[in-house]
Amino acid sequence: MQPIELISITKRFRTAEKGEGEITILSNIDLGVVQGQSTAIIGKSGSGKSTLLHIAGGLDSPSEGKVLCNGTDFATLDDRHRSALRNLHIGFIFQSNLLLEDFTALENVMAPALIAGKKEKECKDRAVELLNRLGLADRMNHIPGKLSGGEKQRVAICRALMNSPEVILADEPTGALDEENAGEVEQLLLDLVREEGRSLLLVTHNQDFAYRCDNVYLLKNHVLTKEK
């Protein structure tokens, strides 16, 4: 069973002006995220890459088609169950290192596990372990405002790994970083796939990073084609 499977996904948006009708962003897309492999989606800005990623994570609903997460169709679940599924099986990393501003790095990493209702002590031990592993041992009690861009993104990666999800969905994870930090984050994500057998679905503009992944797809003219 694939951790994430997209079947015949079509996404249309209603245009702002009245009478203009709808525009199609994604058309009849099939994609399977394979366990233990990294998959990159490349394409021009506005091609619908992020929309596809959000649909894969259950953050957005397709106009047509199905999204299966561990064999469960997101559309058949209510908001509470869909959120629980997302919490336990999917880890998100966003471009703009979205962290909770009023929480320390440690608390940010603990958040997904606390949302899942796990015990505080257990959450803390796991979060400390992750932060140590990603070289943030001395930054765990700092709030995001006191962290550099690279550090924030590493905290976001720790957070995405907190509940040990099968899939990590990353939306331009290196888009806001300088070359050095971007290189570190790229290596970190690819190592996680290789060492821990997780799946990675990645959206990026960075061709080099994309071609270091096991599978590469190009999203062009609303259609997904396999490049590697």
Binding site: L59, D79, R80, S83, R86, L88, L98, L100, A116
Partner: protein, 399 residues
């Protein structure tokens, strides 16, 4: 627990001036609550003082009209403090020396009511003696108005039952046996006292009633009286002073309504603050959804931050309000001394002794009302989160 912690952090978030806004709203709620509690306590104090005077002097706790009951019977009922038979009639007072006249109510008690604890709280004989009831005991204000003096003889015209007509005028010249003062100016200016035997000798004792001071449960006492005489007519002090009592209750209700409007303004601020917080934290709300919080949970977090502000404001308001109420007399004395030193006049409040008081039930009622109002307005402020889509918020995040 995570939701609870997040709500608290959001309520006092240091980012984008949220903490200042929250503290201002918190202080607003506290000040509003203090105002509500203090005004209620002062009004309760003034109303209680007024009611106590009425019950001590004017209407007693109960007035019984019974053909068979004697005051001794009533006095021994459990919960009754004291009971006295009394007569009451209206008369015309004419002072020939000063050529002035006025109508007056004359009361006569069978027994030494003037020494009773309740009566003596509100009634003082200034000159003459209450034991000498050979004449009429007038109030100090009647003395000043009519210019009458101690041991003057005043012409009083009573209406008494006649032999051929139902009532006939009867004029007697009665000496002034002394002067009294009471804490109720209306009562003082319209009432005089005389000996029971003397008054019953003039107007008869058919209309005599029993005045009752009750210290126990009023309902139980009434039931006991009716058990002794089922035909007894009983008037409670609330019935006797119905118009005034209703007016005081109406005044209190209206005061609550007007103060509630003040809270509406605070709650509109709370709603706007919640909205502002939401627009500040919308990205984080979307992030929480992405991390696995349900829409309901995220909404509860934002609702919780508003309620945290409200609860802390209420706790602060109750503590400070109680401190202020306990010291209100000192504060009024201080204000009075400042006003007196500036204007040479005393303030009205300093002239009326009262004990500001507010019951815990009343405090609880006010707190629940404010809490519910805050809950509604915070929920209105949170509605936006129901409409926002996570993906749109994350894509449009600008910071």
């Amino acid at each position: 627990m995570f939701g609870f912690r997040t709500a608290f952090r959001y309520a006092f978030s240091k980012t984008r001036g949220q903490r200042v806004t929250s503290i201002m709203i918190l202080v607003g709620i506290a000040i509003g609550l203090i105002a509500l509690l203090v005004i209620s306590a002062v009004m309760n104090g003034l109303q209680n003082a007024q009611m106590d005077q009425l019950r001590n002097l004017e209407s007693f706790d109960l007035i019984i009209k019974s053909d068979t009951l004697q005051s001794e019977h009533v006095r021994y009922i459990y919960g009754v403090d004291d009971a006295f038979r009394f007569l009451e009639t209206n008369a015309l007072l004419v002072d020939e020396t000063s050529e002035t006249s006025q109508s007056i109510r004359i009361r006569a008690f069978d027994g030494d009511i003037y020494d009773s604890k309740r009566m003596s709280q509100s009634f003082t004989v200034i000159s003459g003696s209450k034991d000498d009831m050979s004449g009429v005991l007038y109030s100090y204000s009647t003395r000043n108005r009519m210019g009458i003096r101690y041991e003057d003889s005043i012409k009083i015209t009573f209406l008494k039952p006649g032999k051929t007509a139902t009532i006939v005028p009867y004029t007697a010249k009665l000496p002034v046996s002394g002067f009294f003062s009471s804490k109720m100016s209306e009562f003082s200016s319209s009432t005089a006292f005389m000996d029971y035997e003397k008054l019953s000798g003039i107007i008869g004792s058919e209309d005599s009633k029993i005045a009752v001071y009750v210290s126990g449960n009023m309902k139980t006492v009434i039931q006991s009286i009716l058990a002794l005489d089922p035909d007894a007519q009983i008037i409670t002090w609330q019935e006797y002073n119905k118009a005034l009592y209703s007016a005081l209750m109406l005044e209190k209700t209206l005061m609550y309504v007007f103060l509630a409007f003040m809270f509406l303004i605070i709650c509109v601020n709370l709603k706007n603050s919640t909205r502002r917080l939401l627009s500040n934290k919308q990205k984080e709300g979307a992030m929480l959804r992405a991390l696995g919080c349900s829409r309901k949970k995220v909404n509860a977090i934002f609702l919780g931050q508003g309620l945290f502000i409200c609860i802390i404001g209420e706790i602060l308001g109750v503590i400070l309000g109680k401190i202020l109420i306990a010291n209100i007399q000192n504060i009024l004395d201080f204000v009075d001394s400042v006003v007196f030193s500036v204007s040479g006049q005393k303030t009205v409040l300093a002239l009326i002794p009262f004990n500001a008081s507010i019951g815990n039930v009343e405090i609880l009622f006010v707190c629940i009302f404010i809490f519910l109002l805050s809950l509604i307005f915070t929920a209105i402020g949170c509605r936006k989160i129901y409409r926002s889509e996570i993906m749109e918020v994350i894509l449009n995040a600008t910071y």
